[in-house]
Amino acid sequence: MRNKNRSRRFKLLRFVAAVMALGLLASACGDDSDDGGATGTTAPATTAAGDSAATLLKIALVAPSASDDLAFTQSMVDAINELSDPVALSITDGTFVIEEAATAIREYAAAGNEIVVAHGTQFGASLAEIAPDFPEVTFLWGTSTDTQGLANVFAYSPDAAEGGYVNGVVAAAISSSGSIGVVGPIEAGDAVTYITGFNNGALANGATEVSITYTGSFGDVALAAEAATALITNGADVLTGSAQMVVGAVGVASDEGVPWFGTQANQTSLDPSLVVASQVYHWEVVLEEMIAQRKAGVLGGEAFEINLANGGLEIEFNDGFDLPADARAAGDAAIAGIIDGSIDPNG
């Protein structure tokens, strides 16, 4: 009897282990979700009522962080969802490992997607290998200012320095100490251009010190939080930052009552009372142009830029923050100056 019970128990344990093993295997292979959220390949998610999937433009997106990161990846997901014509969108996000991203890019191209978006500067080398194998597919690659000479690649980039400059001007206007802190990830990509513009804007409007801390990581939230703490300890009374790990810094800013300036996506929801303004990327401005070119038979070969003048960059002020009128006016003047060319945010 005892042996029988032990045998049953062993079978149960084997069953549980088998289920776990399957779970482990599934997690290793990536997970599917309907809204394109988690790491892994998703089914086409965006369709319009009455449109059959066959008639929709098939777009696939491969991105390094989560689709709703309030930063880099979300800016592209939002943009695709804003396109004037509905599309069938597939997403693989959370692909910090370049080899995983390369696999996804190749699979999407082979699966019949007309446009594959490789949303990350780091995917460039992979794209150089993959794009020539699929001459009928248009690849969009950013942030990058060149197409690597590939005929079926469109490059895109933001002039993030423009919004950075505006945010810097407004930050200096509301700073009491004149000391402003910046939390950056790795010194690369649009984080550098945003921070350069922010630094220039703040100094142009009277800031005495802009302390810039690159944490060395795009994803370490705890380090970003400690960077913000260190900046505040050293006198910063206004903060900004770039990349998805800044939520840690926003949390510290929120605790300490320090105003925050965002970039890439509107970060007001993180603290509706302390986020002053966000530079928002509207990639749809250049996506529409790229799609139009593809329809006209041009599959790539051109680099596009979003900026304040073409509406691809927008400064979204938070109405929930009591921004003094003169600070807002300084921001508006900076926007006008950049658009008319009288201000060089990189200068």
């Binding site: 990536g30 990161d69 979300q74 690159y214 944490t215 380090l223 960077a227 840690g248």
Partner: protein, 309 residues
Amino acid sequence: MSDFFTATVLFSTLAAGIRLSTPFLFAGLGEMVGQKSGVLNLGVEGVMLLSAFFAYWTALSTGSLWLAVLVGTLVGLLMGVVYGLITVVFHAEQGISGIGIFLFGLGFSDLMFQEKVGTPKFTSKLPSVDIPLLSDIPHVGVAFFQHSAMTYAAFVMVPLVMILLRRTTFGTNVRAAGENPESADSLGVSVARIRFSAIVIGNTLAGVAGTALVLELGIFQPNLTAGRGFIAIALVYFGAWRAPGVMAGALLYGVVEATVITWKALGIIPRSLSDISAMAPAVITIAALVILARRVKPPAALTQPFSRH
């Protein structure tokens, strides 16, 4: 550089280092208990992620931080049971099983976050518990006596784990199972039960580590732990399988990390060296590990499955 050597900056850097060391300490102590019994767990990172997510989700859903701590701890315990089944009952290869647990934790916490939360939202954070009188000492109070309850608990765990392993029959059996399981078995010790228990304790502490991390930040993101679970495993080797050694390693890593961040904020580290300097905590810890590793040996039966013949 002179900006750094002010009492305010020095002690706030020390406070940051202690905060940063908390998850390392919990996870490292837990991993040490498991390794002392002969079981290597490379899944610490995955367990931390799972506990972090479920603690965060609980705090977000209920507003109760203590319930969040309980849930995060229980998730760690549950994963300990799972890992115990895989490695002790079914004798699966420990390295591969641990990597499987890590991948499961990474993927499942990410999936759950996207499904249940989506856009990052803040929840309440663990409040600072000021120790009466001591917290009022200028500078020193900020550095040592104004932390969350989880941080104090991490350091209280050090003597508790020492007592557990050195002063109890269970601890003696754990060490015997890790050094010479055949002898332990011949003396009537159930090696499987001891190892299973040690794994559960270790994973529970890994769960507490993830919980402490997420509730200190008040927000979850995919891959929130950013490699801290793996560093905790390295700190067990650094600490020579002794609780004070693990604590020293955790503090060293945390304080170096905090110092680098502060130096960057003060402009002491040039921007051109910014990314390289981010590696400093790992480089210093590995260098110390290389020096120390020659003097100590791991448990003799570490990674070796045991079955009665």
